[in-house]
Subunit: 254 residues, 2 copies
């Protein structure tokens, strides 16, 4: 059976099983090599990249659907996952352009709905624990540097931008890092994560002071060896205190 037939069958099942006209798009952030990364998929038989996404089963909570989609793509289920915006523009992208790019010469492969509203989720995941996995529609799944994304399909560049903006705002009143860093990390690594997300440099003395004052990390005796320099101490998050800080937030206004 060739790809087109398979595709038609696939969409037939989606149409029967899932809510029509509503989809989920996921911006999966990871951190590696001092860069914030996003997990992207390359669509079958094309060079076109887009966000992982999917549809919602008729009797499935949207949050659960997002979790399912993420687990399929990353292989992990312990992650920070948050809805951040619903994209409901009447024309979100040029349909003709998309069908060309995806080599769907006509849209008859499925009963393509007039328009699709998409619910955006972003996830923060530990880069080292992820096994990127392509799905039925795609050939390749891999990390891209968030500052250097290609032109994505649909309105996915826009969706990434909104996710990133949300992440930045969130950083100002919630701790971030638990799901982006490995269990043990050094202070400079944590700092670089913050610097990357905020896109500006921070003073290491003040950063260290502030972070430790928050009381959500604890220093271990252990140090990381191997570098041609003073060995940095390792830290880890205090899970309980981190969780509390997440819930309570730290409102700036007083």
């Amino acid at each position: 059976m060739d790809y087109k037939k398979q595709l038609a069958e696939f969409f037939k099942e989606v149409d029967e099983r899932c809510i029509l006209g509503l989809s989920i798009d996921c911006v999966i952030f990871g951190f590696y090599d001092n860069q914030l990364k996003v997990l992207l998929l390359r669509w079958k038989q094309t060079e076109e990249w887009g966000l992982p996404g999917g549809f919602i089963y008729k009797k499935e909570s949207v949050d659960v659907a997002a979790q399912r989609i993420l687990e399929e793509r990353t292989g992990i289920n312990e992650l920070f996952l948050q809805q951040f915006h619903t994209f409901g523009e009447d024309v979100r992208y040029n349909r003709q352009e998309i069908s060309q790019k995806l080599n769907w010469p006509d849209l008859s492969t499925r009963r393509w709905p007039d328009r699709t509203v998409s619910i955006g989720y972003f996830a923060l995941v530990d880069f080292s624990k992820v096994t990127p996995a392509a799905d039925f529609l795609t050939d390749e799944c891999r990390w891209w540097d968030v500052e250097n994304l290609p032109a994505l399909l649909f309105d996915h560049n826009h969706i990434v931008e909104v996710a990133l903006k949300t992440l930045r705002v969130q950083l100002s009143w919630q701790p971030i890092g638990y799901n982006l860093l490995p269990e043990k990390f050094t202070m400079p690594e944590l700092q670089r994560l913050y610097e990357t997300i905020l896109n500006r440099s921070l003073d290491p003395r003040n950063f260290s002071k502030k972070m430790r004052a928050l009381g959500i990390i604890e220093r271990l005796e252990e140090q990381r060896r191997g570098g041609a320099f003073k060995s940095p101490y390792l830290f880890r998050f205090n899970k309980e205190k981190y969780r509390k800080a997440l819930q309570e937030g730290n409102l700036a206004f007083s």
Copy 2:
């Protein structure tokens, strides 16, 4: 024609004209008498209250739909309107209970979808400019004190809570008030707005200092007369500076 027939006809039109399975719910906040208010609708021939809401035309942006719904309910079009969350639980409420409460003995009045995902918007409006207007499905539209809402239909109490939480968080990094207060207002009025939203009292000396330091309000020569006490000065927002503060935000983390 009796209400049931009209209802069936109404929903028939909705089903033809609108996206299925997706709705909008609006939490419209106003401020009056030192209380934060929410605009609610009473469903026809019942004592049941719920949020204003509606459906999205097939070729209409969701944002535009929300604006349309709001304008229909409040009569004003200059307002602060923001999407805050999409409610996609697989079971958002007890359908049987709802159909009883609304006196829809069977659901055959329409092809009721299996489940509805609802996009929540909240609006901040100038209480004094609003003319609450009921719609086809409802008998009455009026303001309710946000701290004293009745048990609402569907999951609307939950939706109000999430809206309120969003509003509180937003207050910590964005200015709020332009759309909730009349053009000219006194410092104590502004303070009471903040106190109401934050649900705690603030020191008037520090509040005044901080607010004026933000540079988004300007004091007028004019004073408000009539009270049996020292006449308070009137202030108004500097629209341009307010707009900038809105856009830029004031991230707390540094």
